[in-house]
Amino acid sequence: MTNSIEELAGADTIFVIGSNTTAAHPLVADRLYRAKKNGATIIVADPRKIQLALTADLYVSQALGSDAALINGIAHIIIKEGWQNQQFIDDNTEGYEQFKALVEGYTPERTTELTGVSKEDLYFIAEKYAKAPAGSIVYCMGITQHTSGVDNVKSLANLAMLTGQIGRESTGVNPLRGQNNVQGACDMGGLPDVYPGYQKVDVPEIQAKFAKAWGAELSPKAGLKIPDMLTGLNDGSVKALFVVGENPMMSDPDQHHVEQALKKAELLVVQDIFDHQTAQLAHVVLPGASYAEKDGTFSNTERRVQRLHKAVEPVGNSKADWEITQEISNRFGYPMNYASPAEIMEEIATVTPQYGGISFARLEGEGLLWPCPNQDHPGTKFLHAGGKFARGKGLFHAIEWRAPAEVVDEEYPLWLTTGRAHVHYHTGTMTRNSPSLHALMPEGFAEINPVEAERLGVGEGEMLQLTTRRGTIQAKAMITERVRPGMVFVPFHFMEACANVLTNPASDPVCKIPEFKVCAVKLDKAA
């Protein structure tokens, strides 16, 4: 997030797009309700009529995969009406003219045709967001899990720069991270093209700095992203896969394809706290310690680095992940001898500018928001203060809307979308092992509109069969107006009704996020 969570409560307009905030980020939703109570205008754009839609001042249901068109259409109106922040654009940005020329083509008529959102609603969003003293955008996987995910994110940044709604209190573009330490995993270099702190592996000076710090020769070549690792396993160029704390069999699209790839590994190592489908395929399974059994830090969605403290001993013979890796590294011939996570953080601070002033001692209490470059720095509540961007000027990206990779046709006539339910988390390894949470929602389901239910002759709780080009699952029907006619929603937490048997692995060309949020499906009453 460019801004901190608490700041949302002080915004005047909040535009929530592709985030089922009450289900996926309840304590962020708490700020949205508080903002509303303080008089803010809440606008929700989501193909599904999520809970937040019920309290929103305006709810629009854009067609699946039409987000970039919707955002361009809003920008079109802002510019036509002269509501843009010209001062901010002139002082702090580049590329405005090309952007302006492109959104010229997104007239309200055309935008309505592409998105299904009415002209009045488009005007309402444009005006309330552009004219707000402090306008904030909140988004989540509904924006990113598309073949056009990167474009969608850039489109939202365009909107914030166009209106100058960035670099001030309670403004900004605020992605909500799906998992608790996605931010931290990225910050720490859990990505193929960057070392910790987003420092590029293919820049010679940076590579030299890390080679020196780590006392090793380093590869100058960016590594493989997950889909390419799977392809590599399939074609034999990748022989070993070491998986920590993930269950790609369930979290990745097109399960059958993933299974085929994993089975080709000469060495598959899985390190996790529970057994799961990926561990079942492994040659070696290593028991990790859970969050409650170790010291360390997580970085939340607002960039706040927080300390967790060991509350209990690890169960059985399980061990903290860093200890396991260290022992393997020592046996492998690259010596490591960290005595504690505090010591690891000391090293992180020396090589990661954003974490330069972070130490365990300073984190006690509320933690620190990075960037925190030195010992005296108090941390950073919001980014881009005064319109200053990392690259100097903010760059507008002129982005055309692109259709989803798979669209409905005669054989697969309905739109399928996937997401989270409030009780469960991700692939369910933790929440489904929690007796209370399991009791609240013991099984998967598929949401369909009453119109569809009537057409198929299925009642509430009866079994449906869902088929896509990838596979078939069965799930209980949940009949609800939350989804439009012609649309089906399946949560992805349940292995026995696994949404990712169905989803399309087609992914964004830049960041390789799979298109979980939209594909074509056929619906039948189960025999």
């Binding site: 309840p26 909500l176 799906g178 998992q179 996605v182 931010q183 995993a185 720490m188 270099g189 859990g190 193929p192 780590w214 090793a216 380093l218 590594g223 493989l224 690792m229 590599g232 022989k239 070491f242 993930e246 790609p248 990745d252 060495l267 706290i273 529970f274 492994a282 070696v284 399974v285 990790g288 859970s290 969050y291 409650a292 997580f298 939340n300 706040r304 680095v305 927080q306 060991k310 509350a311 209990v312 169960v315 013979n317 399980s318 061990k319 992940d321 393997i328 590294s329 492998f332 690259y334 490591m336 996570p341 690891i344 992180i348 409030h422 009780v423 988390y425 929440t431 092992n433 390789k512």
Partner: protein
């Protein structure tokens, strides 16, 4: 009876609520939201209130497992770690460092992730490190 309460951070969503884990004689018995946390101000969602429950579940993995004759069987740490290190070394020798890939994780700590990617990059010599942020 030894009662302790220990400050921790939620392992579920990216909000990062903090809370005290309550233990009696080393058993986790409850979760109390931190009233002073600027993230959650004394609140938690349904998942957070029950966040202690899975930790000491009987279904946790408690020993290293190694596949022998097609079956995963319990082995000592030494045997498992030697097997992994030797396997990675052999594969690197035969096929080069880029034939090995690592999945870091959005569920483990910063320190865990840092050490893992350091092993991949400086130990094995590959930048094949990714995680499921996109998912």
């Amino acid at each position: 009876m030894d009662y302790k309460s220990t400050l921790s951070v939620c392992p579920y969503c990216g909000c990062g609520c903090s809370f005290y884990l309550e233990t009696i004689d080393g058993k986790l018995v409850g979760t109390k939201p931190s009233a002073t946390s600027p993230v959650n101000n004394g609140k938690l969602c349904v998942k957070g209130w029950k966040v202690h429950e899975f930790v000491q579940s009987p279904r946790r993995l408690t020993n290293p497992l190694l596949r022998k004759n097609g079956e995963l069987v319990e082995v000592s740490w030494d045997e498992a770690l030697d097997y992994v290190a030797a396997g990675l070394k052999q594969i690197k020798a035969d096929h080069g460092p880029d034939s090995i890939a690592f999945l870091a994780s959005a569920k483990i700590t910063n320190e865990d992730n840092y050490v893992l990617q350091k092993f991949a990059r400086a130990g094995v010599g590959t930048n094949n490190v990714d995680h499921c942020a996109r998912l």
